[in-house]
């Protein structure tokens, strides 16, 4: 008689992760780290002032979603070597969205870090100015896309964890 295994759902995995004191601590640590990173990038770009030009609740949502993604990624890595790649990708994405988010949420009128990156890869003045203009107009959309990317990847990772967890239980 085959052993019937209860299918693991994404919600169950999420509950498993965020009812664990360890992963709650990891989330809080990631939250603090990303907030500090955000503050550093904004202050560096805005000549010493913490000044943001997107709604602050979006920034909090971005930091929170990135923290959740980091915790989920670490959980994925800890579960199985086959989920390690999903974990690594998710961890990298959460750092990416937080870093780039920190660059775009300040006043994009003066963007020394962003423009230096563009000049370094060969952009000229006209292209850099166009990029700064684009950033200024669409910065809120950038943040929204990053939040969505974090949430989608959390959903994707949870799916991979449930599939791999199911395969383990059927052995």
């Amino acid at each position: 008689m085959p052993i019937r295994v209860k299918k693991l759902r994404r919600a169950s995995v999420l509950k498993q992760i965020f009812t664990s004191p360890l992963y709650i601590l990891i989330t809080i640590a990631a939250l603090v780290a990303y907030y500090e990173l955000f503050t550093f990038l904004i202050v560096s770009s805005n000549e010493g002032i913490f000044f943001v030009t997107v709604p602050i609740y979006l920034i909090y949502a971005l930091i929170f979603s990135a923290s959740l993604l980091m915790s989920t990624s670490i959980y994925a890595v800890s579960q199985s070597i086959k989920a390690k790649y999903a974990g690594a990708e998710g961890g990298v994405l959460s750092v990416f969205t937080s870093s780039i988010g920190g660059l775009v949420v300040g006043c994009s009128c003066y963007a020394p870090i962003f423009s230096s990156l563009l000049y370094a890869v060969g952009f000229g003045t006209l292209q850099v100015s166009s990029a700064i203009s684009f950033l200024g107009v669409y910065q809120t959309w950038f943040v929204a896309v990053f939040i969505a990317a974090n949430l989608i990847f959390i959903y994707h990772q949870l799916g991979r964890i449930t599939r791999i967890g199911g395969a383990h239980r059927r052995r």
Binding site: I49, Y110, P112, Y119, S130
Partner: protein, 353 residues
């Protein structure tokens, strides 16, 4: 098992590629951050000669004088609340307000300069400069300003810019302005009335001097929004339509520097300054900035500048001192103001000019 091995192997390779790309990206980013863009690039014309890609200019041209009012951007007289305030936008400074800018005492600049030198200015004041070949119009070096009415840092920094320029000449008109409502809504100065409802480029000013020119290029977009900067290519097209040689060449000069990182972008004689040379939004007791300037009227700012005893006003004068130092150094300290404010020469040394 073999299929799993194949999948595992392919994933391994992808992961390695991703890691390598990430490391390269980190390396490039680190290099870019540690080595900000340079405004001059040396190229070799032949095996023994070097030339600068950024060339200097020496031209003869009239300068643009804008209108003193705009029918499609009238003065707003209604008293509005802070945060959504455009009260007095495009209104010209009256005689006493102009006098505060044009005829400020050198002693104020000197006091602030000494405070800057001994580190007792609490707001962020400082500039990173890069040397440029001169942009000479009608025999005089030029101060070039490129900014945006929607930009908070331009809004804050026009105050010390105007005060610095007042040491070498005078303004027959200045106008009340604001940074955009979504970008701080700061009370500021406009060099000329701005089309605050539409996308446009405001050119020209009412500055005259025996020593220097002022070429002011102000990008404008609806001020009720946030920061919104037209690409330089758009500004260049609009400038080209004026057929004014000085402004056309100034734009080409700016583009050739490869130093534009946003607004404000200024050239003070022989020195490029990317960004504002100060962040002065309040009477700060520490270097951490906040923005109470959003809750000041133009009268509040001018009253403080007329009698500078607080950190806000003294910081504005200190920021002006930096720009004065750049112009003085360009002119080999020949204008009388360069010696009338003794701290200017020391500031030149501190900035490494």
């Amino acid at each position: 098992m073999k299929k799993n091995d194949w999948t595992h192997g392919a994933t391994n390779k992808l992961l390695i590629v991703a890691i390598v790309v990430g490391l390269v990206a980190i390396a490039v980013s680190s290099y870019a951050i540690l080595n900000p863009s340079t405004n001059t690039i040396i190229v070799y014309r032949n095996s023994t000669t070097t030339v600068f890609v950024v060339k200097g200019y020496n031209i003869t041209s009239g300068l643009l004088e804008p209108p003193t009012s705009l029918s499609d951007a009238p003065v707003i007289t209604q008293n509005q609340s802070f945060g959504n305030r455009l009260t007095g936008i495009n209104a010209p400074f009256n005689a006493s307000e102009l006098n505060i800018i044009n005829n400020a005492s050198n002693s104020y600049f000197e006091k602030a300069g000494e405070m800057f030198l001994n580190g007792t200015i609490n707001n962020t004041v400082g500039a990173s400069t890069k040397a440029l070949p001169l942009f000479i119009v009608n025999g005089k070096p030029t101060v070039i300003y490129l900014g945006s009415i929607t930009c908070i840092f331009c809004g804050e920094n026009r105050w010390p810019m105007a005060m610095a320029l007042s040491r070498f000449g005078s303004f027959s008109y200045l106008f009340k302005g604001y940074s955009s409502i979504g970008d701080g809504d700061m009370p500021t100065i406009y060099w000329a009335p701005a089309h605050y409802n539409i996308s446009s480029t405001v050119l020209g000013d009412f500055y005259s001097s025996n020593y220097i020119n002022l070429i002011a290029i102000e990008d404008a977009n609806p001020i009720s929004g946030g920061f919104n900067l037209n690409p330089l290519s758009t500004m260049q097209q609009r400038i080209n339509q004026t057929n004014n040689v000085a402004y056309i060449d100034a734009m080409n000069y700016i583009i050739s520097t490869n130093g534009f990182s946003g607004t404000p972008f200024t050239v003070w004689g022989a020195y490029e300054v990317g960004g504002a040379d100060a962040v002065i939004f309040a009477n700060n007791t520490s270097k951490q900035g906040t923005a109470p300037l959003q809750h000041m009227t133009h009268a509040d700012v001018l009253n403080q500048l007329a009698n500078p005893t607080d950190q806000f006003a003294l910081s504005e004068y200190a920021a002006a001192d930096l720009y004065i130092a750049m112009v003085c150094k360009t002119l080999n300290n020949t204008p009388s103001v360069c010696t009338a404010i003794p701290s200017i020469v020391k500031i030149e040394a501190k900035l490494g000019l």
